[in-house]
Structures are given as C-alpha cells and as structure tokens.
C-alpha cells in the first residue's frame, strides 16, 4: 500500500513536469490589442525575433485585435484558455482606464503580469513659431489665458498626463480631444492649437526637423535621442508620465509555464540585439519584472481613478 502511494505521488509529480518540460510544443499566440504597424505591434514582432534565440524550437504567431482603445484585445487575453499558448500585450494607460470607467470585462487580477518592455514618455509640444520656448514661459502663458492643448482621446495617456500636469501645477487647459497623434501633429504644425500632450516618439522627428518644438519631457531623465530637451523636473515642475507596453498572460496559467515566460521576457529585455533593433525602430526600452510592473499598473489605476472621479467620462 505504502509503495503504491509513493508511486502515485512520484507519478503525480513527474507526469506534469514531463509534460511541462515539453512546453511550448505548439505555437504561442501573442495577442496585440492594436492594428498591425503600430508601435505595440512592432514591439511584439521584434520580441519574437529575439525570443527565438532563447527558445529555438518555439513558434510564435501574432494576432492583431485592434479597436476600442485596446479593450477588445485586453478582454481577449483575459478570456483566453489558460494553457500558456495565448499571451498578449497591454499598453497604458488604456488597460487601466477601461477598468476605471467600468467598461472592461476584466480587472488587473485577470492577468498574470509577465513584465514590461517598452515605454514612450509624454512630452509637451508647441508649434515652431510659438513664442513659448520652455516650461516657465509655458506656465506664464497658461496663467494669462487658458491654453488650448490637444490630447489623444479621453482616458488616454496624453489625457492623464494633461490632467496630472493641471493638478500638480494649478493651471487649467482648454483640452481638445483628437483622434490620435496624426491629428495632433497636423494641429501643432499648422499652429491651430497652443500645445499638445503626446508621446516622445510621435513628435521627435518634427522636433529634429524644426517643424515643431518639444519644450519638456515628462520623465525622470532626458532622452538619448533628444538630449537637448530638458525634463519637466529640471524646469521646476516634477510631473512625470509615460506610456508603457508590456507582456501579460491569463491569470490561471500553470505557475511553471508562467515562470518560463517571465524568464523569457526578462532575457529578451536584456538582449543586446533586441536593444539595437528597438533603437532603430525608435522604441524606448523600460524593462520591468512582473512584480514591478504590477505595482506600477496598480498605482496608475489608483491615479486614473482619481481623475475619473473628478470628471467621469
């Protein structure tokens, strides 16, 4: 009897491990909650390229589920069969904004957070012919009259950044929601608005070409690609905000598979070829481990909740 029990216990331990040892034995689907060609999509494709170095036998496929600010894609990841063969990407602030606005059919608990990979810090851009050259002049102008500032839609990273800036500095903007960075760029370059809150990657080309000016980067340190642009903190207003793009899996996936995935993402994050490819594609890396990223997301959700409660959408 005892022998039988021992055997059973040993078997119970060995069988799942041996079946796990084979993971991944079929293609792993990565759900990208945005259209093909965007920066989240590019991140996933570059990730796959480098991941093959560490898991030579693994196959990855990308599924683009765009629309509704990523919500469709986030829900698809949360709903996916927790067998480890479907993982996905999330981007902020949208992933928490949908929870805050009570529209999402998921919470942060629906995911196992694997880790973060990229970021895109927020910046404040003004037209090239604007008299505003730095944050001090910007603040003076904002106090004199309500400046028209464009953001991507309500609940986006730009919107939260603008609200955060308002809250920490006491000025108020005449906020103009747009359909996205294309429209924001056209309005800045055409001088139709006073300023725009948007991501660094979206306006850095125009800043370099001299058709628009970035007056502050809302980050802790300056960016390597635009070393001349001062941070907001350097100019006396310590507002920081960034958009992140990380990897998650459905929450109920087997712990051992999750450990493997965590390991893969952290290895790719450290991979020099991956870093070089990201630099080339103008993507900024911000490696975070799972617990770090979860902590970041939780804090961001609380913060977004505050803005939602003040002015729900």
């Amino acid at each position: 009897m005892r022998k039988f029990l021992m055997l059973a216990i040993v078997a119970a331990l060995i069988i799942p491990i041996s079946s796990l040892a084979a993971y991944p034995e079929k293609p792993i689907k990565i759900i990208v909650p945005s259209k093909a060609g965007g920066s989240t999509d590019t991140t996933a494709r570059l990730f796959i390229k480098s991941a093959k170095k560490y898991w030579p036998n693994a196959e990855f496929v990308i599924k683009n589920t765009g629309g509704s600010g990523g919500q469709k894609g986030f829900e698809e990841i949360a709903r996916a069969k927790p067998n480890g063969y479907t993982i996905g990407m999330v981007f902020t602030t949208q992933v928490v904004a949908h929870v805050v606005s009570k529209r999402a059919r998921y919470t942060l608990d629906s995911f196992h957070i694997i880790g973060n990979s990229m970021q895109d810090p927020l910046i404040i851009g003004v037209p090239a012919e604007s008299p505003i050259k730095n944050l001090k002049e910007f603040m003076a102008a904002a106090k004199a009259k309500s400046l028209t500032a464009a953001v991507n839609g309500i609940g986006s990273d730009d919107f939260v950044a603008a609200k955060k800036f308002e809250q920490q500095t006491g000025v108020t903007f005449n906020l103009m929601p747009t359909k996205g960075s294309t429209e924001q760029k056209a309005m800045i370059l055409g001088g139709h608005i006073d300023a725009s809150f948007m991501n660094l990657s979206q306006l850095q080309g125009q800043h370099k070409a001299g058709t628009a000016r970035i007056i502050a980067i809302l980050a802790d340190k300056r960016s390597d690609i635009l070393p001349d642009v001062k941070t907001a903190a350097e100019q006396g207003y310590p507002v920081s905000m960034t958009a992140t793009r990380g990897f998650v899996a459905p929450a109920k996936v087997d712990k051992k598979i999750l450990a493997k995935l965590d390991d893969l993402v952290s290895k790719v994050n450290k991979d020099p070829d991956f870093a070089a490819a990201c630099d080339k594609a103008v993507l900024f890396r911000l490696p975070m481990t799972g617990p770090e990223y979860l902590d970041y997301l939780t804090k961001l959700q609380a913060e977004t909740q505050k803005f939602y409660d003040m002015n729900p959408w």
């Binding site: 093909a36 060609g37 606005s101 609940g155 429209e183 070409a209 080339k280």
Partner: protein
C-alpha cells in the same frame, strides 16, 4: 540626385518590386474586404528583410494598384473592392447592365492612370509648398469640408430619387454614424454594451452589405448580369466617350487636393470629384444611370489621392490617410524620418520612390487595358456560381476587417436594409455620404468650438473657411433654385 535615383530605380530587382507590388495591389483592391491599408500594413514585416528601397517600392506599388483594383468588381458586380470605389459602382454597374462593362473598365483604368500620374507629378515637383497649404486646414475647415461633401446629397436626387428622400437617406447615414464613443466626452452612444460597437458601426462591413450582399440578393432569379453577349466582344473597338477628359482633369485635381489634407481619405476624394463632376456635367440627368463621366471623375479622384496623401507624409511625417500612415510606419522602421532630410540626405531613395509611382501607374494601365475584355466576361458568369462566391468573399471580408463576428451581422443587416431602401427609392449614395462624413463633421465642429473657446466666429473669420463657404453656396444654390423654378411652373 535625380539621375542616381533613376539608376537605383532601373535595376531589375527594383522594377520587379514595383511590378509585383502593383499587380498584387490590383488583386487585393479587387477583393471586397481586403483594403490597401491592410495590404501595406501586412507588408511592413516583410520589408524588414528587404533593402529599404525595395520595400518602399513594393508598398508604393500596392498602394497604386489597390486604388485602381477596387473599381473592377465595383463596375462589374456593383461590389466595391475598396470603399473608395463606391462612387464608381454607382455609375459603372449600370453600364455593365447595358452591356458596356468593357468600356466602363477602360474609362476607369485611363482615369485612374491620369489621376495617379498627375498626383505623382505634383508630389515630385511641388510637395513642400503644398504641405504647408494643407496645414492651414484646421478643425473649422474640416467641418466645412464635411458639409461640402454632405451638400453632395442634393445632387444625388433626381427624378426617381426625390430630394426629400435623398435627404432622409443622408440622415439615416448620419444617425448610423452616431453609434460609438463620443469623440469629445468619451461617453458611449447606443453601443448596447457591445465592445465591437465602441468604435462605431464599422464602415467596410456596412458597405459590403449595402452593395455586395444587396446586389447578390437582387440578382437571384436572373441567369446572369447581362443576357446580351454580343456587345461584350466589341470592347476593343468601342471608342472612349467624347468630353471624358473634363471629368478626368477635374477628378485628378480634386483628388490630389483632398489627398494632401491630412486625415482625408480616398473615399471622400472620389465622392467629392464625383459630385462636382455631376454638378458641372452637361447631362446631369444621365448620372446614376451609367454615365462614364462619373466613373472618370471618381477614379481619377481616388487615384489622385495617392500622390496627394504622400505629400504631407514625406515632407512633414503627417500621413494623409490610413494607407499613408501604414507606409509611414514602413519608412520609420528603416530609420527614414520624414522631413527635409528625406529629400536631401536620403534624396536618392525618396526620389526613386516617387518616380516608381509613375511606373506603378503604367503597370496597372497596361494590365487594365490588356485584361479589360477578360475581366468584362465576369458579368457573363451564371448567377448560380457568382452569388455564392461573392457572398462568401463578402462574409469573409466583413469579418477580416476587425476579426469581429458582429461585423458579419452588420453586413447582412445592411444588405437587407439596402434592398428595402432601394425598392422604395431612397439613395444609397446619400446614405454612404452621411455615414462617412458624419464623424468628420461632428469632430470638426466640436474641436472648432473648443479652439474658439466657444465662439462660432471661428467658422467665419478664417480665409480658408470663407472660401469653403463660397464653394458650398455655389454647389447648393443652383439645384435649390431649379427646384424652386419647377414648383412655380408645374
């Protein structure tokens, strides 16, 4: 620099890339549901592995080819391959029914070619100046531009489609466009808790339903689209209609201008030039019944958009429409940042790309002219074969756009609704106009008011806005005066 660019372009691999790109573009454009945007986006990962120039040439070819390709099924089956070909379907299909499908195809390919060549020339010669002009358009101008487009509803009315009915159709379109997330406040409107509706009723499935599926339902009971086979064989000898150059020139101009404006797409360009051609035509009563002038204007318009949309993309990094946006992504991947550098430091590549657009246009011109008689035979296909195949592609296309099952139901529902509307004399063209332009008008209006801190003066105190008001009045006054005159003398 130009010589070096030509050298880079006239290598076998480059020419092959242009040829393959254009041919596959025509095929992609010809399939309902597969759009140029999708094709270019899918090509980006492929271009990682290629030389930057080869990748660009491939994408440019796809773009040019797809814009033309959309017109083929639009003319033959009343199933627009791309949204930009809807206006073409309005005129092209009646021609096919009369047995002039081959001629319609010929007009379409020549108009597409002219529009494409003209806009590429504009891009090559005066891109930077025009880009600056495009930037002077702000929210108030976009609102007025949408109103200008909506004014076209009036010209959709004729003897059978009364003006009141055309306006009602337009309103139905506008009401459908209300569904989704409010662009200003972020509130949800009439989404019934369906995530798939948060971005509004998807345009492509609605279109597939209203044109493809309704058309297939309509065809049940007939043997084939045309019964008289004698005219089909005469295509090669059929001369181009007289005076066709006027709408082509007009369409090329309007298409290029609309293309340059960031965010405005080929669909709007095609509709705008179609409407203006209809207004200016000597025989407006023939429109809607198979007038080649309409095809000429619409096709010159949507292909004119190609070069136009690349103007702000290459000079400022602001994509003129969604295809250009995907193409911009492809540029950035190769480290090519739009701006003056693109025309100096990377000038060889940029000029080679622009000049490849000319070759792409020539490729599809030859392809179109040579294949027209064969394409035209599609209209002889027995409906027992045609209906299932087209319906299959319609369902597939509706789903593929957003991977959404709901979109298939939207397509089917729109198909049924379109049959009812048509039988009762409501214009589908007007409905589509409302559906496309509603969101642009709404966002432009709200943003303009934010910009003006709540004052309506912003719609009148900018020179561009005033000019647009003048054009709107010019388009609206004559038909209204005509109606007034008809009422007086019954």
């Amino acid at each position: 620099m130009i010589l070096q660019a030509l050298q880079a372009l006239f290598t076998p691999i480059s020419l092959f890339a242009v040829f393959i790109g254009t041919t596959s573009g025509v095929i992609v454009g010809g399939m309902p549901g597969l759009t140029a945007t999708m094709a270019v986006a899918l090509l980006i990962p492929v271009t990682f592995a290629l030389e930057p120039l080869t990748g660009l040439l491939l994408m440019g070819g796809v773009y040019c080819g797809a814009m033309y390709g959309g017109s083929i099924p639009a003319i033959l089956l009343r199933t627009p391959g791309t949204p930009a070909a809807v206006a073409t379907a309005l005129e092209g299909y009646p021609m096919t029914q009369k047995g002039h499908g081959g001629l319609a195809l010929k007009v379409s390919v020549i108009a597409s070619f002219t529009g494409g060549m003209f806009s590429a020339l504009v891009l090559l010669l005066v891109a930077p100046v025009l880009a600056i002009f495009a930037l002077t358009f702000g929210p108030p101008e976009y609102f007025l531009l949408a109103i200008l487009g909506l004014a076209g509803i009036v010209s959709m009315a004729d003897d059978e489609n009364r003006l009141v009915k055309a306006i009602i159709s337009g309103l139905i379109g506008l009401i459908m466009a209300v569904v989704g997330t409010d662009p200003m406040s972020g509130m949800l409107r009439y989404t019934a808790g369906l995530t798939d509706l948060f971005d509004g009723i998807a345009f492509m499935p609605a279109l597939i339903g209203m044109f493809s599926i309704s058309q297939m339902l309509e065809l049940t009971g007939t043997k084939s689209i045309i019964t008289d086979t004698s005219t089909i064989t005469k295509i090669k000898r059929e001369p181009l209609p007289k005076g066709i150059h006027k709408p082509i020139v007009l369409g090329s101009l309007v298409g290029t201008i609309i293309g340059i404006l960031p965010g405005e797409g080929a669909t709007i360009a095609a509709f705008m030039s179609y409407n203006i051609a209809r207004r200016r035509s000597k025989h407006p009563e023939l429109f809607g019944k198979g007038n080649p002038e309409g095809i000429a204007a619409a096709e010159a318009g949507n292909n004119g958009c190609v070069g136009g949309s690349l103007v702000p993309t290459l000079t400022l990094g602001i994509p003129g429409n969604s295809v250009a946006a995907a193409l911009l992504g492809g540029l950035l991947v190769h480290g090519l940042i739009p701006g003056p550098e693109l025309f100096t430091k990377y000038g060889v590549m940029t000029y080679a790309f622009i000049m490849s657009l000319f070759i792409a246009n020539i490729v599809f011109l030859l392809l179109g002219l040579f294949m027209a008689p064969y394409f035209a035979r599609i209209s002889l296909t027995p409906t027992a074969l045609l209906i299932p195949v087209v319906c299959l592609f319609s369902v597939l296309g509706s789903y593929a756009m957003n991977n959404s099952i709901l979109d298939i139901f939207i397509a089917l529902l729109c198909g049924l609704a379109a049959i009812l509307l048509q039988k009762t004399g409501f214009s589908l063209g007007a409905l589509i106009l409302g559906l496309i332009l509603g969101p642009i008008a709404e966002t432009g209006f709200a943003q303009a008011l934010i910009m003006g801190h709540g004052s309506y003066a912003i719609f009148f105190n900018r020179p561009q806005a005033v000019a647009l008001w003048a054009i709107i009045l010019l388009l609206l006054v004559p038909p209204i005066y005509q109606i007034y005159k008809q009422r007086k003398t019954p």
